[in-house]
């Protein structure tokens, strides 16, 4: 049998993107099974998707012209910027704090481990909204927060009465983020085989150098996906600052629709912006992961061509 009289086999190979070998098949062609249920399901899902898109276009109550008008409204753009600013600051402070909490959790000292445990337990237990409201009204508990020696003299006393909604939000989100991220960071550090650190120590590296140069580069590959998840959840979670009247994205559109009553179009505007922000983060995550994976990916391929010195 020649390949001319049997076009099925080479055709299948071509479809999978492999180079087509110019030779007659050595045996009878293999015919893959048809998957009727899978095909039927795909058609049903496809029809539903078209129906959803159709309704988005034809339902006039979405009021797309209003959506378009307010998408780049200065008030909305200001809200987007505030949301980004709040997320970035809370992430930076949160991750810094999380790293130190994770180090405490891995410390040899029982007291430091307990302190980390209590921190995580506390800030994972209190709902974010409750934490936000507690901090916003902290003046009812402490009029001043002294910075200095406990029970001793204070260097400065921070007044709590005039504290801004923005500062409260950054602190609340940073603590919340730190509690969750510290667990991610701790687990990722523990996932690095002990031998890595031992080899580094045996070479005479200090503890901190071992952590920064050897352990963290391995740990970050484990920690990145859950940390990005955490960041995306926080980005959307910042919308609850509307409760303490901080003009983030959600609060900004609320301000607009309480005046013009175009509630749904403006909530769609907010959704579109959240969608854009989260998509950007997802793309950034993929870029970072691809970059980190370079060395692992090269593993499979480079074995064949021998490198000459």
């Amino acid at each position: 049998m020649t390949s001319a009289t049997n076009p099925a086999a080479p055709d299948q190979l071509r479809r999978r993107g492999r180079p087509t070998p110019e030779r007659a098949p050595a045996t009878e062609p293999l015919v893959p099974r048809r998957h009727f249920i899978r095909t039927a399901l795909a058609i049903v899902v496809g029809v539903y998707l078209i129906a959803i898109v159709h309704s988005l276009i034809t339902n006039e109550r979405f009021n797309w012209p209003v959506v378009g008008r307010y998408l780049f409204d200065p008030l909305v753009l200001g809200g987007v910027l505030n949301t980004i600013l709040l997320t970035v600051l809370a992430m930076v402070f949160g991750l810094l704090l999380a790293f130190f909490v994770a180090q405490f959790a891995l410390s040899a000292s029982r007291l430091l481990r307990a302190a980390a445990l209590v921190f995580v337990w506390l800030f994972r237990s209190v709902p974010l909204l409750v934490l936000l409201l507690l901090l916003y009204n902290i003046g009812a508990l402490y009029e001043f927060i002294p910075v200095g020696v406990p029970f001793g003299p204070a260097i400065i006393e921070l007044p709590t009465t005039g504290i801004s909604a923005f500062a409260v939000a950054v602190i609340a989100f940073a603590f919340h983020e730190a509690a969750y991220s510290s667990e991610i960071i701790r687990a990722s550090i523990q996932s690095v085989p002990r031998g890595q650190a031992e080899a580094a120590m045996a070479l005479g590296m200090s503890g901190s150098r071992t952590m920064v140069r050897i352990v963290l580069p391995s740990a970050i590959r484990v920690a990145l996906p859950p940390l990005m998840n955490q960041l995306i959840m926080m980005l959307k979670g910042t919308s609850i600052v509307a409760f303490i009247a901080f003009p983030d994205l959600l609060f900004s559109v609320q301000k607009i629709y309480t005046v013009n009553y175009e509630v749904m179009p403006l909530l769609v505007v907010a959704s579109i912006w959240y969608f854009i922000l989260v998509s950007t983060l997802t793309i950034v995550q993929q870029l970072i992961e691809r970059r980190l994976a370079r060395t692992t990916r090269r593993r499979g391929t480079a074995a064949a061509p021998a490198v000459t010195a």
Binding site: P193, G195, Q196, E198, A199, A200, M201, A202, L203, G204, M205, S206, G207, R209, R213, I214, P217, S218, T295, T296, R298, R299, A302, A303, A306, V307, T308, A309
Partner: protein
């Protein structure tokens, strides 16, 4: 002249299990000391005590009379800061059973990481030296490979080059061929034999009795965390005096 490496009455327990019980050892320059014994006899822990990866509970280790991690003051040994121990460890190279190469660095980067980061040496010069060392262990063609692209034997030879890059005074080998496929064992043992012939002082935990016999200048048999018998390879391996050594060796051969 005193011994290059001296272990003085080491004791190490993990919980209630005493892994090392009153072990003293002196290693002279150029000596190849092989530690043998059943698994669980404490030979690996003795080795790990020698560079304080497992800090001993009692006793001390000294390299050229300098005690690791402690200083003598007022009739006591007081612990020194961790960076002092890190500095002292640079004189002691170590090769692990599981290689423990840094997975995201190439062979060359694995070798230069510590000389550049710790000793602050010039990078270009160290890359050149790393290539020489990799050539010496027969890996000239694998200088840019990542650990995952290397066979176990190749990884272990990179690990040896990495340890040599710090120009240690003594090399510790912790069962360097135990994780290898049988056909890869020889390439690693050959590199170690060459190293011994070049005059490197070595302490080797091993199950390779032929290596111990041919390369080892001294063989130490451990059981239950204690040294049972030691002597030249000929004495211990061919005519062991202790009954426990005899039983162990008859099972090994």
């Amino acid at each position: 002249m005193t011994a290059l490496l001296e272990a003085h009455h080491l004791r190490k327990a993990f919980g209630h299990v005493v892994a090392v019980d009153d072990v003293s050892l002196e290693v002279e320059r150029g000596e190849v000391v092989c530690l043998i014994g059943r698994s669980g006899s404490g030979k690996s822990t003795v080795l790990r005590c020698l560079n304080h990866l497992d800090p001993p509970d009692e006793g001390w280790v000294a390299v050229e009379d300098e005690i690791l991690g402690y200083e003598r003051r007022g009739g006591r040994l007081r612990q020194l800061p961790a960076r002092t121990l890190a500095r002292q460890r640079r004189q002691i190279g170590m090769v692990f059973q599981q290689f423990n190469l840094f997975p995201y660095l190439t062979a060359t980067e694995n070798v230069i990481e510590a000389p550049i980061g710790v000793l602050r040496r010039n990078r270009a010069e160290q890359v050149e030296r790393a290539h020489e060392l990799l050539h010496r262990v027969g890996l000239s063609h694998r200088i840019d490979a990542y650990p995952g692209q290397l066979s176990g034997g190749e990884q272990q030879r990179v690990a040896i080059a990495r340890a040599l890059a710090m120009q240690p005074k003594v090399m510790l080998f912790d069962e360097p061929t135990s994780a290898l496929d049988p056909e890869l064992v020889r390439e690693v043992l050959e590199v170690m034999q060459q190293l011994a012939e070049d005059g490197m002082t070595m302490v080797v935990v091993t199950h390779e009795m032929r290596f111990a016999r041919e390369v080892g200048s001294r063989v130490v048999y451990l059981d239950g965390g204690r040294i049972v018998e030691q002597g030249t390879a000929e004495e211990v391996l061919t005519a062991p005096q202790e009954e426990r050594t005899q039983r162990f060796l008859s099972r090994m051969l």
